[in-house]
């Protein structure tokens, strides 16, 4: 396993690096869409930690969450994205996103074991809010498909990162580390929550 990973990973990175300038060269619309789609989920810290937290939590919950979430999570995000693009208003999006980071962080830190249906519902609600935020801030000029590809890929990869981190739970030390990570995520979430509530008030 440890031997096999580096090759695909390096190949993927190299091919991506090779493709990037070529795309930028001719089709500015496609390149712009792809890059902004890829970067969008990664640049907001509150989004980023929530995405990773979902992955970690899914890994902690084990089957079936660990394999259903990667399949459905980007899809639910996209549903939120559609609402955002169509400017369907959701209540207090900023606050909800910060709350999601707090709750997911706490869930990871406390190794909260909800039944799958309940966990899925929590994740789905938060996913819709996150997707909504991305959809609402979408750059108009970009190529729609390229943005979608970049956005979904980045979200999915963040999620996979979370799952990869989550597999550390197999070892006691890793378990402790992850709980610490969860606490950190919750703390950052609290900071954003305070900011959001401050802006709201």
């Amino acid at each position: 396993m440890s031997l096999r990973l580096p090759l695909p990973l390096t190949t993927a990175i190299v091919s991506f690096a090779l493709t990037q300038p070529a795309l930028a060269h001719e089709q500015a619309g496609v390149a712009g869409g792809l890059v902004s789609g890829l970067l969008h989920p990664v640049t907001g810290i509150d989004h980023l930690i929530a995405m990773v937290a979902v992955g970690i939590w899914g890994a902690q919950l084990g089957a079936p969450a660990i394999w259903i979430l990667p399949i459905t999570f980007p899809l639910v995000m996209a549903i939120g994205g559609v609402l955002g693009v169509l400017h369907v208003p959701l209540p207090m999006p900023e606050v909800m996103i910060a709350v999601s980071a707090v709750i997911l962080g706490v869930a990871v830190a406390a190794r909260l074991r909800l039944p799958f249906a309940a966990a899925a519902l929590v994740v789905a609600v938060f996913a819709i809010f996150h997707g909504h935020a991305h959809g609402a801030e979408l750059p108009r000029a970009a190529n729609a498909l390229a943005y979608g590809v970049g956005f979904v890929t980045a979200t999915g990869l963040l999620h996979l990162c979370g799952i990869a981190i989550g597999t550390l739970t197999r070892w006691p030390a890793g378990e402790r580390l992850i709980q610490g990570l969860g606490a950190g995520i919750a703390a950052i979430g609290c900071y954003f929550l305070a900011q959001g509530v401050g802006a709201f008030a």
């Binding site: 190949t11 993927a12 091919s15 070529a22 459905t72 899809l75």
Partner: protein, 205 residues
């Protein structure tokens, strides 16, 4: 074997990604309209996503169902090209998005799609993409050579994608929760998500 199939998949992905870099019009100047037909769809993200989705869906359903597409898909491209020339170009963005969503959902659900439905969907994808590929042809392009190139690349791409997917997923008897099955289903979920976002952007005011 594991290593092999992983490599195969990555190689295909790299080929497709590398295809993006090529510029269809420069190729046309150098190698004529046949190769322009070959390269044109490989430089278009819509084609890359939709063709891959179709090929992967057919590949997961097994060789017995998928092999019809070897002939049907290029034929559909040809029909689409013809229809596009006759009726003029229309924006295919919404149709593309709908097909992505439908195929992605079927993949994600690991649905046992009947052969007729699979063929109909693949043919629809081919017709839509054939029309889209013929839409921005320069008037001096030799239509016959372009169509031949497009048909050839459609045949090669769909055949290789199906075979690679079939090898990757091995057999239908693989359990539904093996990591290979999950990887394919996750790909389907991602494609459906992309289709959904694209549809909303196409519909957005």
């Amino acid at each position: 074997m594991k290593l092999n199939s992983t490599r195969l998949v990555i190689a295909t992905a790299m080929l497709l990604a590398g295809g993006n870099a090529a510029e269809a019009h420069i190729v046309a100047a150098r190698l004529g309209d046949f190769y322009m037909g070959v390269v044109h769809p490989l430089t278009d993200l819509q084609d890359v996503v939709l063709w891959t989705a179709t090929g992967v869906l057919a590949g997961t359903l097994g060789a017995a169902k998928g092999r019809w597409l070897i002939a049907l898909f290029p034929l559909g491209l040809l029909v689409g090209l013809l229809l596009g020339q006759v009726f003029g170009a229309a924006s295919t963005q919404l149709a593309d998005a709908a097909m992505m969503l439908a195929i992605g959902l079927l993949l994600a659900a690991a649905a046992q799609v009947p052969t007729v439905l699979l063929c109909a969907m693949a043919f629809a994808v081919a017709v839509i993409r054939g029309a889209a590929n013929g839409a921005d042809l320069a008037p001096e392009t030799d239509r016959l050579l372009f169509a031949a190139g497009l048909t050839c690349v459609g045949y090669a791409a769909i055949t290789l994608t199906m075979a690679l997917t079939a090898v990757f997923k091995r057999t239908n008897s693989d359990s539904a929760t093996s990591w290979r099955a999950i990887a394919v289903r996750a790909l389907g979920g991602w494609i459906a998500a992309i289709g959904l976002m694209m549809a909303s952007l196409a519909l957005a005011p």
